[in-house]
């Protein structure tokens, strides 16, 4: 009755498989398939082919010289996940999972999406691999992210509005889980971040680990040594885990930046590790924003991709053992980072990634010019431009 914690679904005291019995057979099937199919040469070859020719990997590691000069400390490098096909790191995972589902014999794919980035990446992967795709999206998010809804439909996917709860990402996950419980014999649920019941946090981490593996090779090739610091934004935390995974055993400071929203004391934020408590939701034990009764609270962030009231269980563990430092950056600071990178480097970062950029102000000036700091630029910001224009015209 006790799970094997050595090889099983836990990261320390976090993770697990807290799902209904109706879902357990599907989760076990996925566990077996992931173990048996993904190490095979035929899977690896196909996955690599898609990463190279569809996603456009490897993505560059870019020395941001003007940003480095402006901050006056460490050398700043950007891992350019914004240059991935579709404009964000999400596709590394969706191509892997959709390919796995196809090799498992599944014919239908479902996904949840908040801002729409993961939905778009899943829809595109399904178009490329010829599988039916249904994306659950909160009704509130559908009105906020019309362009992404249109993109998903262009790729041939159905977008289902979710009207329950707060009608955002958390509710879209609830709805996708309900669909999965009823349809798992033909359907695979592509989760978009390192969250959910085991084996999802492990699967998504492994598919995103290409970010870290490439970065490690690139930074050594260019500078002859390891970076001293790595910074990545954390919502569910998939780009961060993908980046951190290659450096866990190295003497490199790892920093995860959460959404501070309107400030931690305002209660309007998405900083689950900084300000949440351990809890159990969506199949996992991790940190969640919740009230004293255990009711889950709504997250708030200017960036829809960080608007989730929980965090992946491996992050919870890395926090608990002190391996990664988790900090937060407010909406205003992220917006300043968004503008600064655009002005100094000609690169518009996604608002999510702008949180990592913004944190450089805190840390870089106190470092020496011999230090090397790598920022995971997880996505491009074109998707955010119209929202920011509206925000500024409204004030």
């Amino acid at each position: 009755m006790t799970q094997n914690t050595e090889h099983g679904p836990y990261f320390g005291e976090f993770g697990g498989q807290f799902v209904a019995e109706t879902l357990m057979p599907a989760i076990k099937e996925l566990e077996d398939a992931y173990r048996d199919i993904t190490p095979n040469v035929s899977f690896r070859k196909k996955y690599h082919k898609y990463l190279t020719h569809l996603v456009g990997r490897p993505t560059p590691l870019y020395h941001a010289a003007r940003l480095t000069d402006d901050l006056g400390g460490a050398q700043v490098y950007l891992k350019r996940e914004d240059l991935c096909h579709l404009g964000a790191h999400k596709v590394n995972n969706t191509i892997g999972q959709v390919l796995l589902a196809k090799m498992m014999g599944k014919t239908r794919i479902i996904a949840e999406t908040g801002a729409g980035q993961h939905g778009v990446a899943t829809a595109a992967a399904c178009a490329a691999l010829g599988l039916e795709c249904v994306v659950y999206m909160g009704a509130v998010d559908i009105t906020r992210q019309k362009l992404n809804v249109y993109r998903m439909k262009l790729f041939g996917s159905e977008v289902v509005p979710v009207e329950s709860g707060s009608r955002t990402l958390k509710d879209a996950i609830n709805e996708a889980l309900r669909d999965y419980a009823a349809t798992s014999s033909t359907t695979h649920y592509v989760i978009g971040s390192v969250v959910g019941p085991h084996p999802y946090p492990t699967i998504v981490r492994d598919f995103q680990s290409v970010i870290g593996t490439e970065t490690r090779e690139q930074v050594i090739a260019e500078t002859g040594r390891l970076p001293t610091h790595i910074v990545a934004c954390v919502g569910g935390g998939s780009n961060a885990i993908g980046m951190f995974s290659a450096f866990i055993d190295d003497p490199v400071e790892l920093i995860g930046v959460e959404a501070g929203g309107k400030g931690i004391t305002s209660g309007m934020h998405g900083a689950s590790i900084t300000a949440g408590e351990p809890g159990v939701l969506h199949g996992q034990r991790s940190y969640f924003l919740q009230d004293s009764d255990g009711q889950i609270l709504e997250a708030h962030s200017i960036s829809a991709g960080l608007d989730y009231p929980g965090v992946g269980p491996e992050h919870a563990h890395l926090h608990a053992i002190g391996r990664v430092q988790y900090v937060s950056v407010t909406d205003d600071e992220a917006l300043a980072g968004f503008k600064k990178l655009s002005r100094l480097e000609g690169i518009i970062p996604a608002l999510e990634s702008a949180h990592a950029i913004a944190y450089l102000e805190e840390i870089v000036p106190s470092l020496s010019s011999d230090d090397i700091i790598v920022v995971c630029l997880s996505g491009r910001g074109d998707k955010d431009v119209s929202m920011i224009v509206e925000l500024e015209e409204g004030t």
């Binding site: 009755m1 006790t2 679904p9 498989q17 609830n174 969506h282 255990g294």
Partner: protein
């Protein structure tokens, strides 16, 4: 004759079919829930499945999602709900109470506190929809200490190997889901359900109650006739008062008739075996 300390066990000894009705406490108000429970137990309901409202009820369909939302908006909390069990007992209702709570509520309060409090308040069992076999050992040990039965759920997709493992830790009865998926009413009983009831019966002598999608006297009759010890109905009852939330009390007559009919279906099914 063997004597039982837990009232849930006593109930099944008679061999009569058993009807469990599920409601989320506090929807749309505490006073309505108390009246509803009182009325149902007087009209054929044998076990109250007492739901503690949660913000993210992932195993529930739209009807119970709305129920949770209304109850929370009306100010229901886990502690007030647990006090509600005491109120039920104070009203003289002796039917066994099985508390249903998603795991975060229990985790947040502390499993020991939670189980102790529901036991002291007069509950007899607990269902935790998102605590499968693999994760339940900690809570299981605590429930045994307080003589609360931890009810296990099995679904048509549960393999025989898993079924064996689950039946080993089963207490009280097995909750068989009639369909894969979530709570909510359906038109027909799926054939996989009847097969599952037979599979459980071959492996164990533990009573079997079937839920998820039961919404008529005919469903109840078919399931009991096929070997189930009884049925679980939830969303169908909620739907009946959801149509008149401005004054849910007016639905009580209709609900009485409905639960009487379901119980009649159970009895009829038993007679036809």
């Amino acid at each position: 004759m063997q004597s039982y300390s837990n009232q849930l066990d006593t109930l099944f000894v008679s061999g009569n079919p058993v009807f469990m009705a599920h409601t989320y406490f506090g929807d749309p108000s505490e006073e309505f829930s108390l009246r509803l429970i009182d009325s149902m137990t007087k009209n054929g309901v044998d076990i109250i499945e007492f739901g503690i409202p949660f913000s993210d009820p992932t195993s529930d369909g739209p009807v119970f999602q709305r129920a949770c939302k209304r109850a929370l908006e009306a100010g229901m909390t886990p502690r007030r709900a647990i006090q509600g069990i005491e109120r039920i007992r104070d009203m003289g209702i002796i039917a066994p109470v099985v508390v249903t709570s998603y795991y975060n509520i229990i985790h947040r309060m502390g499993a020991r506190d939670f189980i102790e409090q529901i036991a002291v308040s007069g509950a007899n069992g607990v269902i935790v929809p998102n605590l499968p076999l693999e994760e339940c050992s900690y809570v299981y040990e605590i429930t045994r200490e307080f003589d609360i039965h931890l009810i296990q759920i099995v679904s048509p997709s549960t393999s025989t190997a898993r079924l064996n493992g689950i039946l080993q830790v089963c207490q009280g009865f097995v909750y068989v889901t009639a369909v894969s998926g979530v709570t909510g009413t359906r038109d027909n009983v799926q054939t996989g359900t009847l097969g599952l009831v037979r599979r459980v019966k071959e492996l164990s002598s533990i009573p079997v109650l079937v839920g998820f999608g039961i919404s008529s006297e005919n469903h109840a009759q078919a399931l009991v006739e096929a070997g189930a010890d009884g049925v679980i109905v939830g969303s169908a009852i909620c739907k009946m008062y959801e149509g008149c939330l401005h004054d849910p009390f007016v639905s009580l007559n209709k609900i009485q008739e409905f639960v009487s009919a379901v119980k009649h279906g159970c009895v009829h099914g038993m007679n036809r075996r």
